[in-house]
């Protein structure tokens, strides 16, 4: 067995990792269901600063086979837990410009509580657990891998994370 180089498709058939700009509008257009009264979309976008320091762009790196597998599992778990009609996500790899989208999560459910809670759950788990890393490139030419999950400093276990309530 060699690690798979094809990224696992998300529940909706779209790849969960993308080296190209995310087609957020296309994802949203596909995220409707006649039994779903609530659709929630989260878009994580590149800010022009990090704690006040001007940012020129970000770069995302992923250990793709595992990241794709984990995101697929997180989506499937959320779909079951909150009885979602739809749960899809896509995360960028490579260079992402200021103002561009780095990650999108869309959830749809009969009522809105579930769509909100599941959406937050999915993005929190992706950000804390999937092997995807962010390098901040600053306007002054320097760069820094960072803003990483630091939960292990509290939990004492690199596999245990702290989340806000997920309803």
């Amino acid at each position: 067995m060699t690690p798979s180089l094809s990224f696992r498709p998300a529940v909706g058939g779209r790849e969960v990792l993308s080296a190209e700009p995310i087609d957020m509008v296309g994802m949203l257009a596909g995220a409707h269901h006649p039994g779903a009264g609530a659709v929630v979309l989260f878009s994580g976008e590149v800010r022009d600063n990090n704690r006040g320091r001007p940012v020129s762009h970000l770069e995302y790196e992923a250990y793709a086979p595992l990241a794709a597998k984990m995101i697929g599992e997180i989506l499937a778990e959320a779909k079951t837990r909150w009885s979602l009609q739809i749960a899809v996500a896509q995360h960028r790899t490579g260079v992402v410009a200021v103002g561009d989208t780095a990650v999108v999560v869309i959830t749809a459910s009969a009522h809105r509580s579930e769509a909100y809670a599941a959406n937050r759950y999915i993005i929190d788990r992706i950000k804390h657990e999937a092997p995807i890393w962010k390098c901040e490139h600053y306007a002054d030419g320097t760069h820094e891998w960072g803003n990483n999950c630091n939960c292990h400093a509290v939990t004492g276990d690199v596999s245990k994370h702290i989340y806000e309530s997920h309803g």
Binding site: S4, Y63, E129, P131, W133, K134, W145, N148, C151
Partner: protein, 90 residues
């Protein structure tokens, strides 16, 4: 020590892939020579190569192919060990 590919016995090597901040301390892909039966022993080998990586290594997870491994996993010489720093978080 087991003879490999009919060549003379040599020290065991493992392929290592590192990501993100670990690339400040190691090449993205390299081979490490030495005996490491589990991830704790591998960490010791890696710290011997670059002591500055010690703090970061203590917060890393390890994976083989598409699965995380813990210290109970017995490393094989044909495994490619992936070292995974904390994710992008916030």
């Amino acid at each position: 020590m087991t003879p490999m590919s009919g060549l003379r016995p040599k020290e065991r090597t493992m392929k290592i892939h590192v990501y993100a901040g670990l690339k400040d301390y190691f090449e993205p892909e390299f081979e490490v020579e030495g005996e490491a039966r589990n991830t704790d022993e591998l960490k010791t080998l890696l710290v011997a190569i670059n002591g500055k990586a010690e703090a970061m290594l203590s917060s890393c997870r390890f994976a083989v192919e598409e699965g995380f491994i813990d210290n109970a996993y017995k490393l094989n010489s044909h495994d490619t060990i992936v070292i995974i720093p904390p994710s992008s978080g916030g």
